[in-house]
C-alpha cells in the first residue's frame, strides 16, 4: 500500500495536478457530500449534489491515492495513477453481520457468534448530551433497562439492569469491563467520558458471560475506548453548549385560589389543631400577601457545556489517541451541578513484529453538588441525605409551600412558617416544618468529588502464527470525598426556626469524608487460533488475580459543639468525631474457552471458569461456572442457495450456562462483636455485644440461563434481525432469613435461599433505506421481561413493604408472582348520599364524601383482606427506535425511547392530603376533584377534605397509582457538515455544526414531573415510586466538531 509511506521526499519536480471526478452508488446514483481526501495529506473535498468533486494534488505528493469515504458505505482508496478524471462507485457497507464484535477476552465475527451480544456504536452514545455513559445507553439495546435514580439530577448515574434483575438481597448491577479491566462498581463506569467510547458490547446470555464467572450473573458490559490508528495525526475539537429546563411545571394553586381553598377547609371545620384559625389577612386583605411561585424560585434555566480536544494518529509501529474533556452541567435545581474533567491516553506499539504493548491511562475528576430531591418534604431519604443528615426536600417543598408566603421578608430573612405568625389569636397557621425550599437550596452544601486514575498496560507476544500470549496489569485508584455542611441559618428538623437573623449554632452540621480505594488486576491470557482444513479452532486460557482495598474515613463535628458559623468544615467545632471503615475483597480465577466451527456453518463454543473469592464463606471457597453454546448457519447449507438472494443469512443458536453473583458483601459470613457502651455513674465504659449469626456456608448466587436465538439477514444484509428468547433461573438468592427475636443478637441473617426466574424475548431490527439522495438507517429494538418469584426460603411471602410513609403493605413479594407489584384498595367512588352509605360497607368513620372501598371478598367488612393488586412497577416491555437520515451535507438522527405497561405510585398525594390541614398548597387537579358538600352529587377522584375511613393519608388505593408508560423523543440531532472545499481556505480538515435536543418531548399520561422516575432507583421490590424526585429536564444544545 503506497499510501503508508511517510512524507515523501522527492527530487523530481513535477507540476500540481487537478483531479476531478464523480462518486456514485452501485445503482449509478450520484452521492453528494462524500469526503474525498488525498491520503496522507489534509487536502480534500466534498462531492456536490451531482456527486462531482475537484481537487488539486500538489506535486510534492508522489503516487497520490484518494481516500473516499461516506457514511454507510465501505470506504475506498483509489490510486490516482496519473488520471485526472476519476469515477468511483461506492458500495454500501451493509456488512453489519460481518462486523467483528467485542466479546469477553477477545473479538469474534458476528457471523460465527453463538451467544447473545449486542454491540452499540460509540457514536450513538457520544452524540447525547448527558453526563454519564449509563444514561446514554437507554433504548439502544434490547433487554437493557436504564432506570434513572433521581430524574435529572446532574451527574447522578442511572441503574442499569440487563434482562431483569436476579437478586433481591443485593445489587443486580452488571459487571463493567473497560478495555479488559473488570471494574468494582458502576460508578467507575459512569466517570468515563462518553465521547471516549468506541463501542460498548452488552453480553447477555450465559455463554457470553460465564467466562466472568461469579460476577457475570447480571450480564457484562464491555467498554472499548477509542484507540489510535496509523496515519497522519488528526486533531479534533468538539464542543457544545446548551440550556436545560425542567420539562414541565406542576400546576399548583396560586394565591387567590389557595385562599379560596383554605376558606373551604375552614368552612368544613377541617382544622383540628387550630380550630377556626384562618389568618384574618386571608379574609381582610388577601391582596397584600405575596403570590409566590415556589417552582420558579428553585428551578432555573441551567447551562450545559462540553469541550473536548482529541489527537490521534501514529505510525504502523506506534499509535496513540489522546483526549481531554471538560463537561459542565449546572442543575436546573438551584444548588445542584456536575463538573467532570477527563483525560485519556491510549497508546499501542509494536515493539517487534511479534511483541506488542499497550498502555491506557485515564484520570478523571468529577465534582457534584447535590441537593436533596427524594422522598418526604421535611426529611429526604437515602442518597439525597447530606452526609448522615436528612435535609428538607426542596422539590417537594416547592409544591407544598403556601404561595402566600414570601421568599424573603423585610429584614432579609427567608420567609418561613416560623416568621409568619398570621393565624387568628396570634396562633401559627402554618406547620413550622414545611420549610422555605429556597432557603434549603441556597444554604445546603453537599459536594462530592470523585478522583480516579485508571491505568492498564499489556504486553502481548505472538511467538507462532495464531498464538498470542498476553499479560496485563493495571489498577484503579479512586478517591471519593464528600464535604457536607449545613449552616446555622438553614432551617431543618434539627432547627425549625433557623434563619439568617436567627442562626441556631447547635444545629450546624459539618462532615468531611474520604473514601480511598485501590484495585489492581493481573491477568494472563493465552489464545490460539487455528484453521485446519474446514475446521477452525479458537482456544483461550486465562488466569487472573484481582484485589480491592478501600478505606473510608470521616470527620464530623460533634453535634451541638460548633460555636461559630464561620468555618465550613468540621474544624469549626472544637470537638470532633472520627470514623474509619475498611473494605477488601480478592478474586483468584482461572478458566478457558474453546470455540470451533466447521466451514463457518456449524458453530460451537464452551467455557469454564473457576473463581475463588474472599467474599465466600469458608465452607464454599471456590465456584465453578460452565457454559456451552451451539450455532447452525442454515444459510450456508447447499439447499439454501436458492433462498439466499432474499434471505442471505439465517443462523440458529442456543446456549446454556451458569453464572454467579458475588455481590454478597465482604465478610458477611462472620458474626461480629459490636460496640455497646454504657455509662456507670456518668463515666463511659466500653462494652461489646455480639451481632449477627455467622454463616460459613454463605456463597454466591447461582444463575442458570438458557438462550435461543436467531440471527437473520435479508437482501444482502439490507435488513438484519436478531431475536432472542431467554430463561434465567436464580437459585440460592441472597436473602435475609428472619430469625426469631429470642435469638437476641440478630433479627435476620444473610443466607442463600431464594429463587427467581426471568424470562424474556428480545428483538432487534435494522435496515437501511436509500430514497434518492436520502439515506435512512433504522435500528429498532423491543424487549419484554417477565419475572416470577420461585422461592423465598420456605415462606410464601416476605413482609410487605411500605411505599411512602403511611402507605403500608404497598409492595408484596409473593411466591409465584412477579416482582414489583403494587397492592392496595380499589376505590369505587365517594359516598354521595344516604343510599350510598347504606349500600356499601365502610372502614372506620362513616361519612358523606369518604371513599367507597371495594369489598373484594364480600364479607361486609373493609379490612386488610380487601387489598388487591393495583399496579405493577416492572414494565411489560421496553422499546427503542433510533434513526439517522443523511441528505447531502445534512444529517439528522432521532432516538425514541419507550416504556410500556408500568405504573407509578404518586407519593406526593399523601403529603398534599395530610398536610393540607396545616396550610400547605395542593395541585389544581386535586383541588378541583375534591368532593364538596356544596355539590354532593358530583363524583370526584378525591374524597372530601379530612375524610374518614380509608383516605389518601392512610392507604394506598388505585387512585394514587398512575399509568407510567411513556414514549420519549430522547434525542434529536441535526447536523451540517461544511464541504471540504469551503474549509480548504481556513486549513481545516472537517467541520460539522449541529443542534441537539435531549428529552425533547415525552408522551405520557403520568401527571408528575417525570414518568422515568423511581425514588428507589433500580430496586426490584419497590420500583415505580415517585415522591418528589428531581424533575426531568429538557436540553437544547448547539455544537461543532472541527478537525484539523
Amino acid at each position: 500500500n503506497p499510501a503508508s509511506a511517510a512524507s515523501p521526499v522527492s527530487a523530481t519536480v513535477l507540476a500540481d495536478i487537478t483531479v476531478k471526478g464523480r462518486v456514485v452508488d452501485d445503482k449509478g446514483s450520484a452521492l453528494p457530500g462524500v469526503t474525498v481526501v488525498v491520503k496522507g495529506t489534509t487536502i480534500g473535498a466534498s462531492t456536490g449534489s451531482d456527486g462531482t468533486f475537484a481537487l488539486t494534488i500538489p506535486s510534492t505528493v508522489t503516487n497520490p491515492v484518494l481516500s473516499i469515504s461516506y457514511i454507510g458505505f465501505a470506504p475506498q482508496d483509489v490510486p490516482v495513477g496519473g488520471r485526472t478524471d476519476i469515477s468511483v462507485t461506492l458500495r454500501e457497507d451493509a456488512q453489519k453481520l460481518n462486523e467483528v464484535v467485542v466479546i469477553a477476552y477477545g473479538e469474534q465475527s458476528q457471523k460465527t457468534l453463538t451467544s447473545a451480544v449486542t454491540q452499540i456504536d460509540g457514536e450513538a452514545i457520544g452524540r447525547q448530551t448527558v453526563a454519564t455513559p449509563g444514561e446514554a445507553l437507554a433504548a439502544l439495546a434490547p433487554g437493557v433497562a436504564v432506570q434513572s435514580d433521581q430524574g435529572g439530577a446532574p451527574g447522578a448515574p442511572p441503574t442499569i439492569v440487563i434482562r431483569g434483575g436476579t437478586s433481591l438481597g443485593t445489587s443486580s448491577d452488571p459487571l463493567y469491563v473497560v478495555d479488559g479491566y473488570p471494574l468494582q462498581d458502576a460508578a467507575q463506569f459512569n466517570l468515563i467520558n462518553p465521547n471516549d467510547i468506541d463501542n460498548i458490547s452488552v453480553l447477555k446470555d450465559a455463554a457470553s458471560t460465564a467466562i466472568y464467572g461469579s460476577r457475570a450473573a447480571n450480564g457484562v458490559v464491555i467498554v472499548t475506548t477509542k484507540r489510535g490508528k496509523s496515519g497522519q495525526t488528526r486533531f479534533a475539537l468538539s464542543s457544545y453548549t446548551g440550556i436545560q429546563r425542567i420539562s414541565k411545571k406542576l400546576d399548583v394553586l396560586h394565591r387567590d385560589e389557595y385562599i379560596d381553598w383554605q376558606k373551604d377547609r375552614a368552612r368544613q371545620a377541617a382544622f383540628p389543631n387550630a380550630p377556626g384559625a384562618l389568618p384574618p389577612v386571608f379574609l381582610n386583605d388577601p391582596g397584600s400577601l405575596p403570590d409566590t411561585d415556589w417552582q420558579d424560585e428553585i428551578y432555573r434555566d441551567a447551562v450545559i457545556r462540553n469541550v473536548q480536544l482529541t489527537a490521534s494518529g501514529g505510525t504502523e509501529k506506534a499509535r496513540f489517541n489522546v483526549s481531554g474533556a471538560y463537561f459542565k452541567q449546572d442543575g436546573v435545581l438551584l444548588g445542584s451541578s456536575y463538573d467532570r474533567f477527563n483525560l485519556r491516553f491510549n497508546l499501542d506499539a509494536n515493539l517487534t513484529s511479534k511483541l506488542k504493548i499497550g498502555v491506557s491511562v485515564a484520570p478523571s475528576l468529577g465534582i457534584q453538588d447535590r441537593q436533596a430531591a427524594n422522598g418526604a418534604y421535611n426529611q429526604s431519604g437515602g442518597s439525597a441525605n447530606n452526609g448522615t443528615r436528612a435535609v428538607p426536600n426542596a422539590t417537594s417543598l416547592a409544591l407544598l409551600q403556601s404561595p402566600a408566603l414570601p421568599v424573603f421578608i423585610a429584614n432579609g430573612d427567608y420567609g418561613t412558617p416560623v416568621n409568619q405568625v398570621i393565624g387568628a389569636n396570634n396562633t401559627k397557621f402554618y406547620t413550622d416544618n414545611v420549610f422555605n425550599p429556597r432557603q434549603t437550596v441556597d444554604l445546603n452544601q453537599n459536594t462530592f468529588t470523585s478522583y480516579r486514575v485508571f491505568a492498564n498496560t499489556f504486553l502481548e507476544w505472538s511467538p507462532l502464527p495464531g498464538l498470542r500470549l498476553k499479560t496485563a496489569g493495571g489498577g484503579t485508584l479512586t478517591t471519593d470525598n464528600q464535604s457536607a455542611y449545613i449552616p446555622a441559618t438553614m432551617a431543618s428538623e434539627a432547627a425549625r426556626g433557623a434563619n439568617l437573623s436567627t442562626p441556631v449554632l447547635s444545629s450546624v452540621y459539618a462532615r468531611e469524608s474520604s473514601n480511598q480505594a485501590i484495585d489492581f488486576l493481573w491477568e494472563n491470557t493465552a489464545t490460539y487460533d487455528k484453521q485446519v482444513g474446514d475446521h477452525h479452532f479458537g482456544l483461550l486460557g486465562l488466569f487472573s488475580l484481582q484485589k480491592f482495598r478501600a478505606r473510608n474515613t470521616a470527620t464530623s463535628a460533634r453535634p451541638g459543639t460548633v460555636t461559630t458559623n464561620l468555618l465550613e468544615n468540621p474544624l469549626g467545632s472544637p470537638d470532633r468525631i472520627g470514623e474509619l471503615t475498611y473494605d477488601q475483597n480478592a478474586f483468584r480465577s482461572y478458566g478457558g474457552r474453546l470455540t470451533y466451527d466447521f466451514k463457518k456453518k456449524y458453530l460451537l463454543s464452551a467455557a469454564l471458569r473457576t473463581d475463588g473469592s474472599s467474599r465466600f464463606g469458608p465452607n464454599n471457597p471456590y465456584a465453578v461456572f460452565p457454559s456451552a453454546s451451539l450455532g447452525w448457519r442454515v444459510s450456508e447449507e447447499g439447499f439454501w442457495q436458492g433462498i439466499k438472494p432474499v434471505m442471505n443469512e439465517l443462523k440458529f443458536r442456543a446456549s446454556i450456562g451458569q453464572t454467579g453473583n458475588a455481590n454478597i458483601g465482604s465478610f458477611n459470613y462472620l458474626n461480629t462483636m459490636a460496640g455497646s457502651n454504657y455509662s456507670f455513674s456518668g463515666v463511659r465504659t466500653y462494652g461489646y455485644i455480639q451481632r449477627g449469626l455467622g454463616n460459613p456456608n454463605l456463597t454466591w448466587e447461582k444463575n442458570q440461563q438458557t438462550d435461543l436465538g436467531i440471527d437473520a439477514g435479508f437482501f444482502g444484509d439490507k435488513i438484519t434481525l436478531t431475536l432472542d428468547y431467554y430463561n434465567r433461573e436464580t437459585t440460592g438468592m441472597l436473602l435475609n432469613q428472619t430469625l426469631p427475636g429470642a435469638f437476641g443478637f440478630a433479627t435476620s441473617y444473610r443466607t442463600n435461599i431464594g429463587g427467581l426466574r426471568n424470562r424474556g424475548l428480545e428483538l432487534a431490527l435494522g435496515t437501511t433505506v436509500n430514497l434518492g439522495p436520502v439515506r435512512w438507517t433504522i435500528n429498532g429494538n423491543i424487549s419484554g421481561n417477565r419475572t416470577k418469584v420461585l422461592d423465598l426460603g420456605g415462606v410464601t411471602s416476605l413482609p410487605p413493604e411500605a411505599s411512602v410513609f403511611g402507605w403500608n403493605n404497598s409492595y408484596q413479594l409473593i411466591v409465584g408472582e412477579p416482582l414489583g407489584n403494587m397492592y392496595g384498595f380499589q376505590v369505587l367512588g365517594v359516598y354521595k348520599n344516604q343510599a350510598d352509605l347504606d349500600a356499601y360497607p365502610y372502614a372506620g368513620i362513616r361519612g358523606l364524601g369518604n371513599w367507597i372501598i371495594k369489598d373484594q371478598n364480600g364479607d361486609g367488612i373493609i379490612n386488610e383482606s380487601d387489598r388487591v393488586k393495583i399496579g405493577k412497577g416492572v414494565p411489560d416491555f421496553l422499546y427503542g427506535l433510533n434513526q439517522t437520515f443523511t441528505y447531502k451535507a445534512f444529517d439528522l438522527s432521532l432516538s425514541l425511547q419507550g416504556v410500556q405497561g408500568r405504573d407509578i405510585i404518586q407519593g406526593n398525594i399523601r403529603q398534599f392530603y395530610t398536610l393540607a390541614s396545616n396550610g400547605t398548597n395542593i395541585t389544581r387537579e386535586f383541588y378541583k376533584n375534591t368532593w364538596s358538600p356544596d355539590a354532593p352529587d358530583v363524583e370526584t377522584r378525591w374524597p372530601r377534605i379530612a375524610a374518614g375511613g380509608y383516605n389518601p393519608g392512610t392507604q394506598l388505593t388505585d387512585r394514587q397509582v398512575y399509568d407510567g408508560s411513556f414514549l420519549r423523543v430522547r434525542n434529536l440531532t441535526v447536523g451540517y457538515t461544511v464541504p471540504a472545499t469551503l474549509l480548504k481556505r481556513v486549513k481545516l480538515q472537517s467541520l460539522r455544526l449541529y443542534a441537539t435536543g435531549q428529552n425533547l418531548f415525552t408522551f405520557t399520561r403520568y401527571p408528575g414531573y417525570d414518568p422515568e422516575t423511581s425514588i428507589n432507583g433500580g430496586s426490584l421490590i419497590t420500583p415505580g415510586l415517585d415522591q418528589s424526585s428531581y424533575p426531568g429536564i429538557r436540553v437544547f444544545t448547539g455544537g461543532l466538531t472541527v478537525g484539523f
Binding site: A494, T561, Y582, L670, T672, M673, G675, G687, Y688, Q690
Partner: protein, 459 residues
C-alpha cells in the same frame, strides 16, 4: 507461590466473635455491652407501661407509632411490640453469653467472677420480669442460641416457670452482689437492687408474705433514703441519688448513648423548652386532676402548657432542654425507694397489717407536703390510699399500667376514662380497652416464623 492465600483475607475493622471471650477484660466488656443494650429497652418502656394507662397520652395518636398504645388498639403486627420483644431478648442473650463464658477465663480476683455472674443474672431477671408482665408465657432462653434451628425450636414457657427462674436468678444475684459500689462502678446492680426487684416480683405475683419480707429488708437498708425534697429526685445531675436503687444509666457525650425519652417527651409545639420534639408521652388531664390540693409533686412532676381543654401536661420528671434526639443525660429509674416503700405498704396491707402499712404511705405523703393519713383507715381505704399515692408519686416512671393490672382495675379504669374524656378529645372515643389488652400479643412475625409459639387470647 502463595496464590491460595490471595483470597484468604482478614477483616480489618470487625472483631469476629470467634476471637472474643478470652480474657477477664473481654468478659467485663461483654457484661458492659449487655448493660448497654438495656438502654434501648428503657427508651421505649413508656409505650407499654404508661401510654395504655389513664396517666399519659401521646400527641402522635393519629400516626402509626404511639397512637395504638394510647388508645389500646395495638394489633398483632405492631412494630414497636416486636421491637421491644427483640430488645429484651438482646439483653437476655448478652447475659446468657456472659454467663456461658464465665468459666472460660481466669480472674484477677475470684470476687470479680461472682459479681460478674450476679450482675448478668440480675439483668436477665429484670428483662424476663418485663417480658412475663408484657406477654405472659414467653420462651425461657438461658443459654446462647447458636443456630437458626435452635431459635426456631423455642416454645412458650408457662409464666409460673418464668417467674420461678426470675426468683432464682435474683436470689443468686442477691447473694453474690455487693451492697454498693464506689467510683465508676456506681450504677451496677447491687444486692439491694436484687432484693428490691425480687420484692417487686413477689408483689406482682401477689405472694404477699414473701413480698413483705423481702421489701422489709430493702426498707431497712440505710443507704437508701427518701430525699427531703422531691424536686431533687429527678433531673440532669441528680442521677444515682440516695433514693435510686437501680436505674438504667444514660450519659450524654455526643455519641448517641444518651436517652431518647427526654427528647421524645419534649413539647411538639409549646414553649416549655426551646426544643421542639415529639410529645410522645404527656400527662392526661385525669392525672393532673388526680393530685390533691397542696401536693408539691404536681409542680415538680408536671408542667402545664396551653389553656382549657387544649392544655398539655409535660413530664417534667424527664423533660429538659436536650438538644439532640439521643443525647438525654438523665437516667431512667427502674427501682427507687419511694416505690419500694409503697410496695411494702401494699404487702403489709394485704397481709392484714394495715396499721403498719399506713405509716409507710405517710412517709411518701408528708414529703410531698400533704397531711398524713390517719392510722384508723380500713384495709380497703388503705389500698385506695396506696393506689392514689403510687399513681401520683410514680407517674411517668412505668409502673401505672401493671399496678392497675395487679389491682384488677386496668380494664374498668380505662373504660371509665374513655367515657369521661370522649368529649374532651374525640380521638378517645376510639379507645378499645378490654381484658385481652392486659397482655400484649406475641409479635406476629414470631408466630409466623415459629408456629409452636401460640398467640395470646383475643388476638
Amino acid at each position: 507461590y502463595g496464590c491460595k492465600d490471595f483470597v484468604n483475607l482478614t477483616p480489618q475493622d470487625i472483631i469476629p466473635v470467634s476471637g472474643f471471650y478470652k480474657t477477664e477484660a473481654d468478659l467485663q466488656a461483654a457484661l458492659t455491652g449487655t448493660y448497654g443494650s438495656m438502654r434501648n429497652v428503657y427508651n421505649g418502656y413508656f409505650q407499654f407501661t404508661e401510654l395504655p394507662s389513664d396517666n399519659t397520652r401521646s400527641i402522635n395518636s393519629s400516626e402509626v407509632t404511639y397512637g395504638p398504645f394510647d388508645k389500646l388498639t395495638w394489633l398483632v403486627n405492631n412494630n414497636n411490640i416486636s421491637g421491644a420483644w427483640n430488645q429484651h431478648y438482646t439483653v437476655i442473650a448478652g447475659a446468657n453469653v456472659t454467663l456461658g463464658h464465665a468459666d472460660d477465663v481466669s480472674y484477677a480476683n475470684p470476687v470479680n467472677k461472682t459479681q460478674l455472674v450476679g450482675q448478668a443474672k440480675f439483668l436477665r431477671a429484670l428483662m424476663y420480669f418485663n417480658l412475663v408482665r408484657f406477654f405472659g408465657d414467653v420462651p425461657l432462653v438461658l443459654t446462647e442460641l447458636k443456630s437458626q434451628a435452635e431459635a426456631l425450636d423455642l416454645v412458650r414457657t408457662p409464666a409460673a416457670q418464668v417467674y420461678a427462674q426470675i426468683e432464682k436468678d435474683l436470689a443468686d444475684a442477691e447473694a453474690s452482689l455487693p451492697l454498693s459500689y464506689t467510683g465508676a462502678n456506681v450504677g451496677r446492680a447491687t444486692s439491694g437492687a436484687a432484693k428490691a426487684l425480687l420484692g417487686k416480683v413477689y408483689l406482682q405475683e401477689k405472694k404477699w408474705p414473701e413480698a413483705e419480707a423481702k421489701l422489709a429488708e430493702v426498707v431497712a437498708l440505710t443507704q437508701y433514703q427518701l430525699l427531703p425534697d422531691v424536686n431533687n429526685v429527678f433531673g440532669v445531675g441528680k442521677d444515682n441519688n440516695a433514693e435510686i436503687i437501680f436505674a438504667c444509666q444514660y450519659f450524654s457525650s455526643g455519641n448517641g448513648e444518651g436517652n431518647s425519652f427526654a427528647y421524645n417527651f419534649a413539647p411538639a409545639n409549646a414553649n416549655v423548652t426551646t426544643v421542639v420534639a415529639g410529645s410522645t408521652n404527656l400527662g392526661t388531664k385525669d392525672l393532673n386532676d388526680a393530685f390533691e390540693a397542696g401536693d408539691q409533686r404536681k409542680a415538680a412532676f408536671l408542667v402545664a402548657s396551653g389553656t382549657g381543654n387544649a392544655t398539655d401536661y409535660y413530664a417534667k420528671k424527664f423533660v429538659y432542654n436536650v438538644l439532640a434526639a439521643n443525647e438525654g443525660d438523665n437516667d431512667w429509674p427502674v427501682l427507687r425507694l419511694a416505690d419500694v416503700v409503697l410496695m411494702y405498704a401494699e404487702a403489709l396491707n394485704n397481709n392484714g397489717k394495715t396499721a403498719l402499712a399506713i405509716p409507710q404511705i405517710n412517709r411518701v405523703r408528708t414529703r410531698a407536703g400533704l397531711a398524713a393519713k390517719p392510722l384508723t383507715l380500713t384495709t380497703a381505704d388503705t389500698q385506695l390510699a396506696i393506689e392514689q399515692e403510687r399513681r401520683v408519686e410514680l407517674c411517668f416512671e412505668g409502673h401505672r399500667w401493671h399496678d392497675l393490672i395487679r389491682w384488677g382495675k386496668a380494664t374498668s379504669t380505662m373504660l371509665a376514662f374513655k367515657t369521661k374524656y370522649a368529649t374532651l378529645d374525640a380521638a378517645n372515643g376510639t379507645m378499645a380497652p378490654s381484658v385481652t389488652k392486659e397482655l400484649f400479643p406475641i409479635p406476629q412475625v414470631e408466630v409466623l416464623l415459629n408456629s409452636k409459639l401460640t398467640q395470646n387470647p383475643g388476638y
